[in-house]
């Protein structure tokens, strides 16, 4: 009765252990784990595949983008919902990190921390990352949010049931429930503008050209040139979302 236990000799144990280790090492070398930094395009598709770049070095935190976005897309002024907003990161000399975003930056920023205490400070505009492997699209139970053939993550207003799953799923906090429409809302890269050949409203009004909109397949285009000439990073690359929102000069403190 019972399970027959075998007691391997030391030689056998070492043999199988080293074989297992060998397989593991070979697998690792053969297919190393890569955090997805540059999303790979869907194969076989044609037409534009849009992405977005933000140059943190150029952003002066004027908040005109957040303001224009609200005007263009009928985002309610209050309560404080945003499709795009700006955060000011301030790292003090003692190493503590202060993040603030009063009214999303629409009314500007006032520096409250005395300058001599500041180690460094910068503005980070945030918006939908238009991920290629969006967590929000994956959790939608009815197919009301989707990755369009142009690589824009869109919402089907008339089909959304307002279940808020996607609001929870977005690792970047870019979705909210529209208080009047009672369905989810977020950045659409101004799909109604870009289809007519215009720039998104935030890009249109940015005074310092800190925001770059473009086609990732257009190798001569402004976005690809921006990616080529700057050291760009995406937010939370370890989550493997395939984000297509690229930041130049992104500090590690930004989450």
């Amino acid at each position: 009765m019972g399970i027959k236990k075998s007691r391997p000799s030391r030689r056998e144990f070492l043999k199988s252990a080293s074989a297992l280790t060998g397989v593991a090492v070979a697998t690792f070398i053969g297919a190393p784990f890569n955090g997805v930094v540059i999303a790979s395009e869907p194969a076989g598709a044609k037409g534009p595949w849009y992405g977005y770049g933000i140059d943190i070095e150029k952003c002066i935190g004027c908040g005109r983008c957040a303001n224009a976005c609200k005007n263009e897309n009928n985002v309610p002024q209050k309560p404080y919902y945003f499709r795009t907003w700006i955060e000011q990161y301030t790292i003090k000399n003692d190493g503590s990190i202060h993040i603030e975003s009063p009214n999303g930056g629409v009314d500007g920023f006032e520096q409250k921390i005395p300058e001599e205490e500041i180690f460094k400070s910068f503005f980070v505009p945030k918006m939908c990352n238009h991920c290629h492997k969006s967590p929000c699209v994956q959790v939608c139970p009815v197919g009301a949010t989707y990755d369009s053939p142009e690589g824009v993550v869109l919402i089907d207003d008339s089909y959304c049931i307002g279940c808020r799953y996607c609001v929870q799923a977005c690792p970047y906090g870019c979705r909210y429930i529209h208080p009047e429409k009672k369905v989810v809302d977020k950045c659409s890269l101004c799909y109604h503008r870009i289809k007519k050949g215009m720039n998104p409203a935030c890009v249109e009004v940015c005074p310092t050209n800190a925001r770059i909109f473009g086609d990732l397949r257009d190798k001569e285009g402004p976005l690809v040139e921006f990616l080529r000439t700057h050291t760009c990073q995406v937010l939370k690359p370890h989550l493997n979302t395939g984000s297509k929102l690229y930041y130049n000069a992104l500090s590690a403190e930004v989450r």
Partner: protein, 158 residues
């Protein structure tokens, strides 16, 4: 086949048929054509109203401002950055007037001193120290900020 099995099979077939019919009725038009979504939703998203007209449309009438702007540091600014959305004004220029900012704090959105602002990217001043009792537009032409006007060298502190 026993009669009771037959009856059960008939009921099952009816239920399956009812489910298939119900499912077909519930799936909206164009769903699944491009993926797990309504393909028509792409058109719906295209139909939203445009509010920001783009500065080329402004210059069709305001050529003088375009010429003035080109000479100075605000050459790269879109008109709507300061004046707000202009599509309605384009459609009926006489009845819809655009916002004309005339407030120190509005200029301060870009030009107030802040450590986070790159010094090379934008001129910055201390709002509380730089002629605090005057509007920016008293001295600066907003379309050509270095074309100073009403300047009294005794008073200015640059």
């Amino acid at each position: 086949m026993p009669i009771q099995i037959k009856r059960h099979l008939i009921i099952l077939a009816i239920l399956i048929a009812a489910f298939v019919v119900f499912q077909q009725l519930m799936i909206p038009e164009s769903f699944g054509e491009l993926g797990h979504y309504r393909a028509n939703s792409l058109e719906d998203n295209e139909l939203f109203d445009i509010h920001y007209a783009g500065q080329e449309s402004c210059y069709e009438c305001h050529e003088d401002i375009s010429d003035l702007k080109e000479m100075d540091l605000h050459y790269d600014l879109s008109c709507e950055t300061c004046h707000g959305p202009g599509t309605d004004h384009n459609l009926s220029p006489d009845s819809v007037e655009l916002f004309i900012p005339d407030d120190r704090n509005f200029c301060g959105l870009c030009h107030a001193k802040n450590t986070a602002r790159n010094e090379d990217a934008v001129f910055q001043i201390e709002l509380k120290e730089h002629n605090p009792d005057k509007n920016c537009t008293y001295c600066h032409n907003p379309h050509a900020p270095w074309e100073l006007r009403n300047q009294d060298p005794q008073e200015e502190n640059f």
